[in-house]
């Protein structure tokens, strides 16, 4: 039984079959993007064990194809089977066949390679604040160079241990490393964004995949006290009693998506009659639940929550409010700011339903902030075609003694404190910038594995080419 299983995984036929299946999956996943958003496609095809391939993706959209789907091995399943297949084949066929000093030297080089790799991954040889100051390409060359260094050490190790098969082992090791890196990225990488107006200083990022309900006590002129309720807690019918607030929050209804608020007067009579009696913006604006946005239209979901507040001491209702993501300025690129304000026991509160906010801190725990000094949106003369987007920023971290003026522009991000800040968008009238902020500790793995595979493959092919040319 066990032997049969091993034989199954030992076969190159399995490799070929799995690779063919992955081609079909990738092909279908590409065609599906014509009418589905990339995130939906990713979950449905690639980041799953069993994929659901919709039949209609293979046909022109004008044809009337029944709405059926075919179960198919998903990206994770194929990936894992390939990894097992690869390891089994190598374990069986590429045994270390050397001994003595050569073996020891090989293992030492292997360890050295691991050391170099780990060092490169965690920032050996890079500045703590890394932004492009002059020519961009040196930065990438240097990274690839570090990758080549690691690859070179590994190649020597493989040469010592596997002789003629060194390239083969190395290149497959590189592929394995690449797959592991992508798996880690899928699990751990976090994408957020940062919106800054010109002249403004911002010290937090918006996690656009997560939401929270925030209440700010603004009665103290010295400090604001913020209390947040995480989005997970906002279940229909829940009664939330946050510490530090003198009131309870009852969740009437959580809406996955809501409309862009419209004036209530413009709404047809019957709809308006059924519309709840809200306080705040809801008394003047119409906000209602909408079907979930599909990726194809390029729109985002704008959740909203219908809440009622109760004074905790007296149990009296403080009013029913609708809090929509549409009211949050960073969701609408600062087109407007609509804070919901109310007063409880003589204290003023401001409420938002907003993206989960995370305040920026360096690994040492010191807070830092970014000020946008200038935003540049250049166009080619006589056209509307963008030539350049650039944010001139001031990065300040008093605790770590960082105070630097830097430029973030297309293809030239800032890397600082394990986060990378990319130029991503801009506010209306070029009045500010939107930065994409990514935290991904495995981001160097593709650089490393690219060079490892390259060195392994090149060595292998050159070896066989040489053998062929030497033949008469």
């Amino acid at each position: 039984m066990m032997n049969k299983l091993i034989d199954f995984f030992l076969s190159l036929k399995l490799t070929v079959v799995l690779l063919v299946l992955s081609m079909i999956l990738v092909f279908a996943g590409t065609l599906a993007q014509v009418d589905q958003g990339i995130w939906t496609v990713m979950d449905q095809y690639f980041r799953c064990l069993i994929a659901r391939i919709d039949l209609h993706v293979f046909f022109p959209r004008s044809m009337d194809i029944p709405d059926v789907w075919i179960p198919f091995p998903g990206g994770f399943l194929i990936g894992w089977l390939l990894v097992i297949n690869l390891i089994t084949v190598h374990w069986a066929n590429f045994r270390i066949q050397v001994g003595g000093g050569r073996k020891i030297a090989g293992i030492l080089f292997l360890l050295l390679g691991v050391l170099v790799t780990v060092g490169v991954m965690f920032g050996w040889g890079t500045a703590s604040v890394a932004a492009t100051e002059s020519d961009a390409f040196w930065r990438v060359f240097l990274r690839l160079g570090r990758g080549t260094l690691a690859a070179g050490v590994f190649y020597i190790a493989c040469l010592l241990l596997f002789r003629k098969r060194a390239g083969m082992v190395l290149l497959h090791g590189g592929i394995l490393f690449l797959l592991i890196g992508e798996f880690a990225t899928a699990l751990y990488a976090v994408e957020a964004s940062m919106t800054i107006k010109e002249g403004e200083t911002v010290n937090y990022i918006d996690h656009s995949q997560q939401l929270e309900l925030s209440f700010t006590d603004t009665s103290n002129p010295e400090v604001d006290t913020v209390t947040v309720v995480p989005g997970d807690a906002l279940k229909d019918g829940a009664l939330i009693k946050p510490d530090g607030l003198p009131f309870d929050i009852k969740i009437n209804h959580y809406m996955i998506n809501s409309n862009n608020p419209k004036p209530l007067q413009g709404i047809p009579e019957p709809l308006r009659n059924r519309y709840p009696k809200y306080e705040g913006y809801g008394s003047r604006l119409y906000v209602a639940e909408q079907p979930e946005a599909s990726g194809a239209t390029g729109t985002r979901n704008a959740p909203a929550v219908d809440v009622e507040l109760f004074n905790r001491a007296t149990g009296d209702s403080l009013g029913r409010y609708i809090l929509s993501l549409w009211f949050y300025p960073n969701f609408v690129n600062r087109s407007w700011d609509m804070p919901t304000t109310f007063n409880v026991d003589g204290k003023d509160y401001t409420a938002y339903f907003r993206f989960r906010r995370e305040y920026l801190t360096s690994p040492g725990g010191n807070p830092y902030s970014i000020k946008l000094l200038d935003f540049v949106h250049e166009k080619y003369e006589g056209t509307q075609m963008p030539k350049d987007f650039a944010s001139q920023i001031l990065l300040v971290n008093e605790g770590d003694d960082v105070n630097r003026e830097l430029r973030i522009w297309m293809n030239n991000p800032l890397r600082y404190a394990r986060r990378t800040f990319y130029q991503s968008g801009y506010l209306p009238d070029d009045s500010g910038t939107v930065l994409q902020v990514v935290r991904n500790d495995s981001w160097m793995i593709p650089y490393l594995s690219c060079m490892i595979v390259f060195v392994g493959m090149a060595a292998q092919f050159i070896q066989s080419l040489g053998r062929y040319l030497r033949k008469p």
Binding site: T15, V16, L19, M23, V26, T30, F46, Q384, P446, C450
Partner: protein, 590 residues
């Protein structure tokens, strides 16, 4: 030995003669309009400075798919055509330059179908309102609701709008009465929102490129009655250009030439740097190296085909020499494009076709060198057909206007264009080369007796070697693309259609090698798989762009979809043919 030297000399002489023909400007008498000098004047359009020669050729190509006009069997150069039009000569309206090939559109415009499908502006005039109405209704629809007629109407209307905008940007407003000035100024401001030729270069009076009509309007003597506090600025360049066009309209060659020289002298004194590269670009245009190389590559292919089938060393040698002769101007023209545009060689579909063709020919030469006698002309065959086919594809892709366009902000990084794009193009090329050898293997084996055991082994070796390189290059190219994405927005892999297309090529090459290592296929099976690689590569190169989604969705064209489908079906047929049992093959030794 001696014979081959003589052949080579003849081939080289022939190639030199072939390439120089048409590269020299036509002779002009001193009393004629100095069109050649006019063609060298600078203009800025779509963000790039170029000579009027390029502008005229591109505009004509967009309208009529050709770089010159035929009138009564005589060729009229693009510059003369442009000058006739912008100067407002009445007979310019009779040039048949608007290509409309859709019969429904023609009948709705009240036009008769005709050979070559080209119509003059005068013929279109009565139908312009109808066309405008149809185009507006088509634009009002969502893309999915538009049918073929809508798309064709939009295509034709875009040509007309483009033409009208260009004409309007060369208007001379100096005789406009005062009461119409305001309306004219507003019209010009609207026009400036479109991409129109900016023909007045920066000079000491103004640091920006400007279109002629607005510059002339600013010097209109009554402008200060329209805009309060307007400073009537007389731009000498605009005045010279205006007089030049008027002189051309009235047929006054002396005045035209005089004004042209004055214009050149003023500009030379004021902003000499503006003339940089212009003369070289005009030369590049006139040389037309790509189409000439394509013709020679076809010849190379035909010669080598006979040489290969009949085992004639002499023919193969001559073809090899011819291939090298065509390769040199091809290389030169690619370098010239880099110099002119300031970008690495591949920036759009057009340049990718040119580059992949170049790389395929280079690979053909390498195959000839590495395999020497064993190649038996296979390198010529592959280089010839691949060079010809890709340059022909490039020719048809050139119809969108300037092929040296400026890059959008996110793509504007010479580093990644020079590494990722070049490597991935080499990967495409190598897969195509292996696939082409595969086609020769199948046809040679099935229909001729040429494929003996030795040839079969040699062809397999070539395919195997190329596939190894294809895998190496497409893998590295794909990963570099991911690294670019990581550097641009922090996502190494985003399952974008073009990324996926590149990944499919990598996987397919890996499948081929593993199938071979696992003894699942022999020589013939490997050839069949290589042909299938053509399908994968073609889809990745052109197919994903047709989906119209993703970051790489540039260059959508309807006819490209059609030809892609044809190509895929042909290659699929070859695959099926390759699966015919070997006992039916003519080369029975297998």
């Amino acid at each position: 030995m001696k014979r081959s030297i003589i052949t080579n000399i003849i081939v080289v002489l022939f190639a030199v003669w072939f390439f120089q023909s048409g590269a020299k400007p036509p002779k002009e008498a001193e009393t004629d309009f100095q069109l050649n000098a006019f063609a060298h004047l600078p203009v800025k359009l779509e963000g790039r400075k170029k000579p009027i020669d390029t502008f005229a050729r591109n505009l004509l190509t967009v309208l009529s798919d050709k770089q010159s006009v035929r009138v009564d069997g005589e060729g009229v150069s693009a510059v003369k055509w442009l000058l006739d039009n912008i100067s407002g000569r009445p007979e310019a309206m009779d040039y048949k330059v608007f290509r409309i090939e859709n019969l429904d559109v023609l009948s709705s415009l009240g036009l008769e179908e005709r050979k070559r499908f080209r119509y003059s502006y005068r013929e279109l005039l009565p139908a312009l309102n109808t066309l405008d109405g149809a185009a507006r209704s088509a634009y009002g629809k969502e893309d999915r609701q538009r049918d073929l007629y809508d798309k064709q109407v939009m295509k034709v209307a875009n040509k007309i709008y483009l033409f009208q905008n260009v004409m309007a940007s060369f208007e001379d407003p100096s005789s406009i009465p005062q009461e119409q000035l305001m309306a004219t100024a507003q019209r010009y401001m609207r026009l400036e929102n479109y991409s129109i030729p900016l023909v007045i270069p920066p000079n000491s009076g103004n640091p920006r490129w400007r279109p002629l009509m607005s510059t002339l309007l600013a010097s209109h003597p009554a402008m200060n009655t329209v805009i309060e506090g307007h400073d009537i600025s007389v731009d000498p360049l605009a005045v010279h250009m205006g007089v030049m066009l008027a002189a051309y309209r009235t047929g006054n060659a002396d005045l035209f030439n005089n004004e042209l020289m004055e214009y050149g002298a003023v500009l030379q004194a004021d902003n000499p740097a503006v003339f940089d590269k212009l003369a070289f670009e005009v030369f590049y245009n006139r040389l037309g190296a790509f189409m000439k190389s394509a013709t020679l590559y076809l010849l190379v292919f035909i010669l080598s085909l006979f040489g290969w089938l009949l085992r004639k060393e002499g023919l193969i040698g001559a073809a090899r020499a011819l291939m090298v002769c065509a390769f040199i101007p091809h290389t030169f023209a690619i370098i010239a494009r880099c110099f002119l545009s300031g970008y690495p060689p591949v920036t759009n579909l057009y340049s990718s076709a040119i580059f992949i063709g170049w790389a395929a020919v280079a690979a053909g030469i390498v195959i000839e060198l590495v395999f020497r006698k064993k190649a038996a002309g296979m390198g010529n065959l592959v280089g010839g057909i691949a060079g010809f086919a890709t340059l022909l594809i490039a020719h048809f892709l050139a119809g969108d206007g300037d092929t040296m366009e400026q890059m959008r902000a996110v793509l504007d990084t010479r580093f990644w264009l020079a590494t990722h794009v070049i490597t991935i193009s080499f990967g495409y090329m190598a897969t195509f080369v292996a696939g082409t050898i595969g086609v020769f293997y199948i046809f040679g084996g099935l229909f001729t007796r040429r494929l003996d055991e030795e040839t079969s082994e040699n062809l397999y070796r070539m395919m195997y070697g190329t596939t190894c390189f294809a895998l190496l290059l497409s893998f590295v190219g794909t990963v570099l693309g991911g690294l670019w994405a990581d550097d641009s927005w922090g996502r190494f892999w985003g399952w974008d259609p073009k990324e996926n297309g590149a990944l499919l090529i990598v996987i397919w090459n890996a499948i081929m090698l593993h199938a071979r290592y696992g003894m699942m296929v022999k020589n013939r099976g490997f050839a069949v798989m290589a042909v299938a690689g053509n399908i994968v590569t073609a889809w990745s190169w052109f197919g994903v762009n047709q989906l119209g989604v993703g970051l790489h969705s540039y260059g959508f064209t309807q006819s490209a979809s059609f030809w892609l489908l044809v190509f895929v079906l042909v290659q699929f047929t070859v695959v099926l043919i390759g699966l015919v049992p070997t006992r039916l093959w003519k080369s029975s030794s297998l």
